[in-house]
Assembly symmetry: C2
Homo-oligomer: 449 residues x 2
């Protein structure tokens, strides 16, 4: 069990006092992720001091775990040779490729040129060609693979050789002579099988794999569906080219969930509470601007109905209620659709989805409309016709908002736009305006104004 | 690589035709998760037919993967003896405990009484005592543990014995004579160490563990921070009592993210698009109701300002804009705080957080207020004083909404209420009303009405 907090405090102090032995001692008790947390907060000089004391292996892990801004900043103080020989060489190819992708192109070339391990260099260059959002961009190339024709005892020898170069081994992949992926050899099987047995007799061929071109969300869904720790990646020929571990996917899932949540809350890009005021404002202004334009359009709708409002002031008092309810229904409907799309639980039949969504909204709408009717007649003592107008408008607006809230994300998805946008202020605002517009249209017809 | 879709279609057809051999054949090509997907859709008779053909092991996995409603329904058709001897015995203790918890108490007792494996029965009963949201409730008790005093060769023998009873092995835990957790023995070390070496010389003591009473969110944070596949669980005495695997935490993280997203979208409990109309309506009505009550209060605020509105109609047209902007700012502010709380990136200093949030909102608010001022003067040709009133109100409302949006989630968190509630219609609605109220107060003072 780690007592991380104590050693973290010791490390901070030791670095501040430039106490070499104490720094080295504290470091041995901390995980890289904890050292990274401290590294993030240090000034440039202290970062360099701490970096020099860390072993190359730990330094590489720490650099992986710090904020991207800090990393870029720190790597600028090192030469391409240092980055190649001290850091990149210590990293798994997928992590190395991710970090390289953050650097300017000419620097990437210099670093690659300084890498002595040609296979590692080639893996990194290969991985950098993949986009962030496909399996190839998430995968690492470090794996233990054994040929199906080996005996368990020879397989163990082969694994030993390969394991020397790796951080950790969790899965053993079984391939044929042309590196085609056949299956997986579990640690359990390895432990419980006699050593002369052939790998081909005991490996598990019921294996989930993904193509290097599969989307990251597909990979995430597979890993969740089958409860996997690792998933192997194959190319078009079925050859094993890499593996994706659950921790990479976990980061992806968390980021996607945060993105959806932020879109639903009217924040446009990936920011968090610790970002600076400028980034935070920049991420929020676009949605506020949409809301403002919506508000201005709304003000025009009201203005053009000034006469109706002067004639029957009671109508005016329910403008915010109608607008807010339309917005709420729209967001609820689209959130259900967006999550259904994300989790693949939505049926293929758009019409059926629509009917269901409208039914749910009709049920809620009827209840709300009746309550408002009662409120208007009994408490506000409004005329029956005015009260009926308000309730009928409310119900109509709710039904139309439900249709819009259902169809917009489906249409966005069909056009390859992130449907989560539809849960944000965009749909609230357009439903607000639509709601007020319908309200006055119905009022004009029913009240002859 | 699996061609899951083809075999899924075959399985559906085979079950429908009650074709035993074809059903058995299709099943061998499918993962339990895929069989579960089909099982979910079958009628009661077909479910029983398919169940009878599945091996006990596969049946147990399938039952774990189907919807909770379907599972309860199906388990009702089996006797306690069948459940114990065919299903529960095949499951890891944590899964068994989860499923048992869904059943009525007297049935739980009957099932436990039918379990021949006393150790398994004891594990399940122990696990059922923990809540869903603590480490003990997430952990399984199936582990491979070796004593530090063993040699690698004896350790492998011991592991073989233990592995026989387990589905899969990923980590090997090292304990002392009194079962206190000391560290972990990696597969890599096992592969690359000579067989006479003692376990105590090669195990890794830099190990992250959690207490059985730690909260599920703490566990999730640790697993993400340290990129773990498994985390061992210890009791108050430091003894190893179980392990939590990343797939359990992945489910927890996904559920929490969905819950937050739904709360932000005004949906109160965990529903998805495939639920029935009644559940969907029930989950949405409470928030709509809050919105409606807010709308009614808003209508009262407008009503009490009827004279001002009659005197200066221009004021009225900006009611929706003020209300919507207040709502949007509030949701943005609270979403940033809620996510900061969830990811632990929020500083301890509440005052600093508040100053930052107000600064961001002031920057956005100033820009919006100036645009509206220009719009009112140049396009609407409103009087300067009326235009100024609207812009000053907008800025004031934005600042106050930011304060409310920041403080409400912090206060909720301090009182152990899920702060994500604050991003829903609750905060939009209260900010709506607050916005309109402030608007008229400022208007009365500035315009002497």
């Amino acid at each position: 069990m780690i007592t991380e907090t104590d050693f973290s405090a010791l490390l901070r102090q030791a670095v501040e006092e430039r106490n070499g032995p104490a720094t080295a001692e504290a470091v041995t008790h901390l995980h890289a992720a904890d050292i990274a947390h401290i590294f993030n907060d240090l000034d440039d000089d202290s970062q360099l001091y701490l970096y020099e004391i860390l072993s190359n292996e730990t330094a590489a892990e720490v650099l992986l775990d710090i904020d991207a801004d800090e990393r870029r900043n720190f790597l600028n103080t090192l030469s391409a040779k240092e980055i190649a020989e001290d850091i990149i060489i210590e990293m798994d190819s997928d992590d190395a490729a991710d970090i390289m992708a953050e650097l300017p192109e000419n620097r990437q070339d210099q670093i690659i040129a300084h890498l002595d391990d040609e296979e590692h260099a080639r893996s990194i260059v290969d991985l950098m060609r993949y986009g962030d959002d496909v399996a190839g961009g998430l995968m690492g190339t470090e794996m233990v693979t054994v040929n199906q024709n080996l005996s368990i005892i020879s397989a163990v020898k082969e694994m030993r050789k390969q394991a020397e170069e790796m951080d950790e081994v969790y899965s053993i992949y079984v391939v044929d002579d042309s590196n085609k992926l056949l299956g997986i050899l579990s640690l359990k099987k390895l432990l419980t099988t006699s050593s002369s047995t052939k790998v081909s007799e005991v490996y598990n061929s019921k294996l989930v794999s993904v193509r290097d071109t599969s989307s990251a969300s597909e990979v995430a869904q597979l890993i969740q569906k089958y409860d996997l720790y690792e998933v192997p990646v194959v190319d078009a020929r079925g050859e094993l080219v890499g593996k994706i571990t659950v921790d990479d996917v976990l980061d992806y899932i968390t980021e996607e969930a945060e993105k959806d949540y932020q879109l639903a809350s009217g924040i446009s890009s990936d920011v968090d509470a610790s970002d600076n005021i400028f980034s935070l404002t920049k991420a929020r202004l676009p949605w506020l601007f949409i809301g403002m334009v919506g508000g201005l359009v709304g003000s025009r709708v009201l203005q053009s109905n000034e006469e109706s409002l002067q004639a029957i002031p009671a109508l005016m008092f329910f403008v915010p209620l109608i607008a807010a309810t339309a917005g709420n229904i729209g967001v609820q409907a689209s959130a259900i659709i967006v999550q259904g799309l994300a989790s693949n639980t939505l049926g293929k039949d758009v019409f059926k989805t629509l009917v269901k969504e409208v039914s749910v909204s009709a049920a809620s709408g009827l209840i709300l409309a009746l309550i408002i009717l009662g409120f208007n007649l009994l408490i506000n003592h409004n005329e029956l016709l005015v009260s009926a107008t308000i309730s009928i408008s409310l119900l109509t607006v709710i039904l139309i908002a439900a249709v819009i809230g259902t169809l917009v994300p489906l249409i966005l998805k069909r056009n390859n736009i992130d449907p989560a946008i539809a849960t944000g202020p965009f749909i609230t605002t357009s439903n607000d305006i639509m709601g007020v517009f319908i309200y006055f249209t119905i009022a004009k017809v029913m009240l002859h104004i």
